[in-house]
């Protein structure tokens, strides 16, 4: 990305924003830790009844497992596995869950159990690895030759038939469990929180579900899924940051992004209102989160005072030498030109006296068409000489007395070889001196002219201040306009399709062609160059630095000049109105967006490796309310709820009862402000006379597991388990319906 880096001036100018103190501590991204060895606990396995079930909440963020009698899950692991043969050890290694954070190789090899961005299992090897791990850690020793405990497992709402079948195959045929049952995580959580009739809003890691429940029975026909969860948030933030900082040297990995989402994002109560003010200067330091990525500071070689002074002296010396040389060159060029001019003038005088025929031959010998051509040439040369005289031609203070050149007056015949040499030198010195004196005089005249102009200008100002100011203002506007046009032309030339580029291409093609087309009327003979303006074409087609011709005025300097005058004499023109102040970085939205309210030093590795989270903090979680902003072509969570309540269940007698218990569960509801926002938005779309109750699960993350354990321990649940005998008899598609599980087909 190209962005302008503004100079930071130390002077305090009225109207400038003052950058606040830098935050004492930037946020550092961190890796999830390797949790170390998890001990096998056999006591529960040995001490529980043989029909005590193993409960597994098969979540896409974490798999949680334990015994039905446990209060909280014993094990919790991300659904990841890495398995590879270490060549050094020559052993097959196997990392499950957070063990993959043990080292970099394991991390890189890790595979996810789920299809990315969905709640559907697609790597059954990982599932097998995870189940092996869970059963071992729960103390099943394999002395029975199979897993001799029933299993209760969660699955997604309206799970795919294929996934369900494969899971049953694995549980019954690979592990040989005596019985198994499946249920839906959000319904377990709702039941655990005592819900009977209500709308379950479960926003989890990979998806968001809304399920109306009446008398503990889910109404699946009205259930709706939105494909957005915390993992999609992380992906979205990642995309945003890669677009925001395309040149970021470091890399942020997925877990770190997830950490940023969890730590710093929140749901805005008034998205559009808050967004519009998010980058305002006031209080930006509180809204802007600085995240420091690891970096190594470039080593700066500290030079001693003496060394610096020496280097500066050396630089100055060589600069001076260069200047001297340049001045000498200019002087020589000037002399040459003056001599040429003299020659032409001489020619002109001769022409005046010569016959017509002679004059013609003379002109042709010098490549002139006619006399006016010669005149033009002389005029041009005079102008250019005048201009050159105003430049530095190395006129150091010369001795006052005029040097004498005695040899010049003596004819060549009277001189010997040595004398001739000296004469030549003296002639050169004389012309040098003369050129300098003429240059000096020209400069004096120029100075006088400028002084006179200034005097007139001052006079005008004193006599007609308003008119003068008006003139200046217009001049300033024109200058700004010209700068803009120049910039636009530059930008346009970067685009091959722009008009400016097309014209340039045409010009180049025309110049290169053997018989260039004449756009202007006129004869066929090529007169290119007859008019000085013809050469301007080369200035037009040149791009980049070459186009900065010496003729081009310094627009920026001119603008500054005019602004300085206005500042001095126009009471309405303040520091704030200058162009520079308006381009001040503290006023730049983009600067605030990229770098917060602090100056940015592109040399500092520390600052180059910083990212600033500001608008993203509300932009990311907002997607669940407006999926369109992330390009998801689905209705938002409030629209879905509204549709279920006011359309699809409008005839239901239990609707009002349902609205009294809108139940939130899942990790997404942990975002600060989520519950409040949902309540307010629902309130706004529902009829005013309906009373609305919104509540959040006691523990939105763990209650699904707890509900499943509670259900497994309840005496009535056992009739919903499918036994191994039933599996073999009725096939893998056979399930028993119950209130907390999916419906059978």
């Amino acid at each position: 990305m190209v962005y302008r880096i503004y100079d930071i001036k130390s002077e305090t100018v009225s109207g400038r924003n003052t950058p606040p103190e830098r935050p004492a501590q930037a946020y550092h991204v961190s890796e999830p830790p390797y949790e170390g060895y998890h001990a096998v606990e056999q006591s529960a396995y040995r001490n529980t009844a043989p029909d005590s079930a193993i409960v597994i909440d098969n979540g896409s963020y974490n798999i949680r497992a334990g015994w039905q009698s446990d209060r909280t899950p014993r094990l919790s692991l991300p659904p990841l596995m890495a398995r590879y043969t270490d060549r050094k050890l020559n052993r097959k290694l196997n990392f499950i869950g957070s063990e993959i954070y043990f080292d970099g190789t394991a991390r890189g090899q890790a595979k996810n159990l789920y299809e990315p961005g969905s709640n559907i299992i697609n790597n059954w090897d990982v599932l097998e690895g995870a189940l092996d791990y869970l059963f071992i850690k729960l103390g099943i020793d394999g002395s029975k030759g199979h897993v001799d405990r029933p299993v209760v497992m969660t699955e997604p709402l309206a799970n795919l038939q294929y996934s369900k079948r494969t899971m049953s195959e694995i549980l019954f045929e690979l592990y040989g469990v005596p019985a198994a049952a499946y249920g839906i995580d959000s319904l377990f959580s709702y039941a655990y929180n005592g819900g009977r009739t209500g709308l379950v809003v479960s926003s989890a890691y990979t998806s968001t579900h809304l399920v109306p429940v009446v008398d503990s029975k889910p109404l699946f026909a009205q259930a709706t899924r939105l494909d957005w969860g915390r993992s999609q948030c992380a992906e979205y933030l990642n995309k945003l940051l890669r677009a925001k900082y395309p040149a970021l040297p470091g890399k942020i990995n997925d877990t770190q992004i997830e950490d940023l989402v969890r730590q710093h994002c929140y749901v805005s109560q008034d998205y559009n209102g808050e967004m519009a003010k998010y980058l305002d200067w006031t209080g930006l330091e509180d809204r802007d989160v600085v995240v420091q990525l690891p970096f190594t500071e470039k080593e700066v070689v500290q030079k001693t005072e003496e060394e610096l002074a020496r280097a500066a002296e050396k630089r100055k010396e060589s600069g001076r030498r260069l200047q001297e040389q340049a001045a000498k060159m200019r002087l020589e060029k000037l002399i040459r030109k003056e001599q040429e001019l003299e020659y032409y003038k001489d020619l002109q005088q001769k022409l005046a006296t010569a016959t017509k025929k002679d004059a013609r031959t003379m002109l042709e010998a010098e490549d002139f068409n006619d006399e006016s051509h010669l005149e033009r040439k002389i005029k041009d040369m005079e102008r250019s000489i005048r201009k050159q005289r105003n430049k530095d031609v190395g006129d150091i203070d010369e001795p006052e007395e005029v040097p004498t050149y005695p040899l010049l007056d003596i004819p060549d015949e009277e001189l010997d070889e040595e004398g001739l040499k000296q004469k030549r030198q003296q002639r050169l010195m004389k012309s040098n001196h003369d050129a300098r004196t003429r240059a000096k005089a020209e400069k004096e005249r120029e100075k006088a002219r400028v002084a006179e102009e200034e005097r007139l200008d001052n006079e005008r100002r004193e006599n007609d201040t308003e008119g003068w100011l008006q003139e200046r203002r217009i001049a300033r506007q024109n200058m700004i306009q010209r700068i803009k046009e120049r910039d636009r032309l530059k930008a346009d030339l970067g685009n091959r399709k722009s008009l400016a580029s097309q014209i340039r291409m045409k010009n180049i093609a025309n110049l290169a062609s053997d018989n260039p087309k004449k756009r202007r009327r006129g004869g066929d003979d090529d007169t290119f160059g007859a008019d000085d303006a013809d050469w301007g074409i080369y200035r037009q087609i040149a791009t980049g630095d070459q186009s900065d011709d010496e003729e081009e005025e310094d627009l920026g300097a001119n603008l500054k000049n005019i602004e300085a005058q206005l500042l001095k004499y126009d009471p309405t023109f303040t520091e704030q109105s200058t162009q520079e102040a308006q381009q001040d970085w503290t006023k730049s939205v983009l600067h605030s967006f990229l770098r917060g309210p602090w100056p940015f030093d592109p040399e500092s590795q520390r600052e180059l490796n910083q990212i600033h989270l500001n608008v993203e903090r509300i932009r990311v979680p907002e997607v669940i309310f407006q999926p369109g902003i992330a390009g998801i072509d689905q209705a938002g969570i409030v629209e879905i709820a509204e549709d279920i309540i006011t359309q699809r269940l409008s005839g239901s007698s239990r609707r009002d009862e349902m609205l009294k218990d809108i139940f939130l569960t899942g990790g997404y509801t942990h975002f600060q402000g989520f519950e409040e926002r949902l309540r307010n938005e629902l309130r706004a779309v529902l009829p005013a006379d309906i009373s609305l109750g919104v509540r959040k699960a006691k523990d939105p993350v763990l209650d699904a597991w707890k509900g499943a354990a509670q259900w497994a321990a309840s005496p009535t649940s056992r009739q919903s388990f499918v036994s191994r005998a039933e599996y073999h008899e009725k096939g893998a598609d056979y399930i028993k319906e119950h209130n907390l599980g999916n419906a059978a087909f």
């Binding site: 897993v147 038939q161 979205y236 967004m275 209705a635 629209e639």
Partner: protein, 124 residues
């Protein structure tokens, strides 16, 4: 490192007593595994939504439909509510400063911004 791996039981156990088929038997040495599980896209194709009863919920038909409200437009760079679209890059913007910026962006970065809202040109 080895001792820690052994202590933490991160070596793949050759046999597990509670399994009927051991992993090593499932994938005999020297045989390439390949990929044997279908992606969600293929699973959904195989499930063939049209053959499922429309009145019963399935994975496809519980997906929420597109919104019936006109979507709000936000600046692709800053996220502000954006009334303008740059006809050249198709990026939305709200601020002249941002406009100047997006006009200077190379095509690759423009596509990156568009990809954030799934509007990028995808070449296949």
């Amino acid at each position: 490192m080895e001792s820690e791996i052994v202590r933490a039981e991160m070596l793949l156990a050759p046999t597990m007593g509670f399994k009927k088929v051991q992993t090593a038997d499932k994938y005999p040495k020297g045989q390439s595994r390949g990929r044997q599980w279908k992606h969600l896209r293929h699973l959904l194709q195989a499930a063939d939504a049209s053959s499922l009863p429309p009145d019963r919920p399935n994975y496809l038909n519980i997906q929420s439909p597109p919104s019936i409200y006109p979507p709000k437009r936000y600046c692709d760079v800053t996220g502000f509510e954006a009334p303008y679209v740059d006809p050249r890059t198709k990026l939305r913007y709200a601020d002249p400063e941002v406009f100047r910026q997006i006009r200077m962006l190379p095509e690759e970065y423009v596509q990156r911004y568009l990809a954030v809202r799934n509007a990028a040109v995808v070449l296949r």
